[in-house]
């Protein structure tokens, strides 16, 4: 065990890479989640179809297959990605598809009466979305987003398979160097668990702030409805 802990610089570097990949992946995922999620609430069939195509395709793709494809297959037709770019892209696009479903579900879960009140006050369509619907939808998005963030963090372990020095990759090297298989994997499992717990705390804090902004205790049922629409991995 002590051999493993002696390798702490390597563990720390790996942890830092894992955290960075999580942050980049989440930032990337947020873009398609919002764009395609809002497209899914459009009145126009063609725009909604965009949402369906994106969501069905990337939800249907296995992250690791996508990652291999970007990393091994695409360079052969002239698109070369760095390992990190391939990793972040595949994680972000995949989680973004689930995120889009969360956004769509949450926006649709905001009562229609709110939209009508916004029409009655003569807000423009853009203002209705930005000032009335989205702020209320965010409260419904946060809990499922929290779950997705943890799924994303877990997903970063896959990058070790395309030679990125994340926590799992470094663990393999420590294992090879020390022969301490059980201890190495136990230690990094605990590190992953700790990261997940911290992410959860951060999301809960955000949830509380949004609930305060909306002046209410979390509305369990509405939140469940939204998370049902885009449940983790669902």
């Amino acid at each position: 065990m002590s051999d493993v802990l002696d390798a702490y610089p390597q563990l720390l570097r790996g942890t830092w890479t894992t955290v960075q990949l999580t942050v980049y992946g989440a930032a990337l995922a947020l873009v398609p989640a919002l764009v395609f999620g809002l497209a899914g609430t459009s009145r126009h069939t063609a725009v909604r179809a965009l949402n369906r195509v994106y969501v069905e395709f990337f939800r249907g793709t296995a992250t690791l297959v996508l990652m291999y494809w970007l990393f091994y297959a695409l360079p052969l037709v002239g698109f070369r990605f760095t390992p990190v770019a391939a990793a972040v892209l595949s994680l972000g696009l995949n989680v973004g598809a689930y995120g889009a479903e969360v956004v769509r579900g949450a926006v649709n879960a905001v009562p229609r009466a709110q939209y009508e009140a916004a029409v009655a006050l003569n807000f423009t369509p853009w203002q209705r979305m930005l000032r009335v619907t989205l702020p209320q939808a965010v409260a419904l998005m946060l809990p499922p987003f929290g779950n997705l963030l943890i799924e994303l963090m877990k997903g970063t372990a896959l990058v070790s398979l395309i030679t990125i020095g994340d926590l799992t990759f470094n663990a393999q090297r420590i294992r090879a160097a020390t022969g301490e298989t059980a201890a190495t994997f136990l230690v990094i499992l605990v590190v992953y668990f700790a990261i997940a717990q911290m992410l959860q705390l951060a999301v809960r804090y955000a949830e509380r702030r949004v609930d305060r902004m909306l002046g209410r205790r979390p509305d369990r049922r509405a939140a469940a409805a939204a998370s049902g629409a885009g449940a983790v991995k669902a």
Binding site: R59, G60, A62, W69, Y72, L74, V77, G155, A157, A234
Partner: protein, 217 residues
């Protein structure tokens, strides 16, 4: 480099072999997940607070750590504790264990979602506890649970490529090896990607049907 259909045809048998392993691993893993999830759920309902909390944290731990690392643990560590598993067996156990923490949550939510009034009606009718479970609560919970369980089957199918990391020759592993021989990765991995999308999209259509069927009372 352009797409080579002849080559695609040559590797196809290998890929289909891989697909067979993938499906086998998914189905077996899913059975474990369904049963083990139920075990977690029941353990969490025991009166013992200690058991309750212990199970809660174990489930939380498994759920918030990467499947890949868990697979490594099962495949590399258990043998040193005297339990040697074949790669496929280790993979199936890993998938089943990981996803049991999701099915456990589905069961719990399904039971919790049965309105309180249903319990109260059972008490008012003086139904014995067993009857209440069997005739009132479970039938309603099952309706709520089926679509989510279906979704996790799809999710698990999409996580099965991870087994290549412990040298199971499932679909993606077969494709990678085929590619490594000829240094042509384009065809095998693209075919695998397409297969995954087709299977996932078709099965999610089935799940949505189930959802609609079970959503209406």
């Amino acid at each position: 480099m352009t797409w080579d259909w002849n080559y695609t045809g040559e590797i196809l048998p290998d890929l289909l072999d891989g697909l067979r392993v993938t499906v086998l691993a998914t189905v077996l893993g899913y059975l474990i997940a369904l049963v083990l999830g139920l075990v977690w759920t029941l353990l969490r309902r025991t009166p013992s607070r200690a058991v309750n909390q212990a199970v809660r944290w174990v489930v939380e731990f498994i759920r918030s750590t990467p499947l890949l690392v868990q697979l490594f643990f099962i495949f590399y560590v258990l043998p040193s504790w005297g339990l040697t598993l074949g790669a496929l067996t280790a993979g199936v156990i890993g998938l089943g264990l990981h996803y049991s923490t999701y099915t456990c949550e589905v069961y719990r939510a399904g039971i919790a979602d049965v309105p309180r009034g249903q319990w109260e009606a059972c008490v008012a009718l003086n139904l014995p506890r067993r009857r209440a479970w069997q005739d009132v609560i479970l039938p309603q919970a099952v309706r709520r649970v089926v679509p989510s369980l279906g979704n996790y089957l799809i999710a698990m199918f999409k996580d099965s490529p991870l087994l290549l990391a412990i040298s199971v020759s499932e679909l993606l592993g077969a494709a990678y090896r085929a590619g490594a021989e000829t240094l042509r990765y384009l065809e095998p991995i693209t075919v695998v990607g397409v297969l995954f999308v087709i299977v996932s999209v078709l099965s999610s259509i089935v799940v949505r049907r189930l959802e609609r069927r079970y959503a209406t009372y």
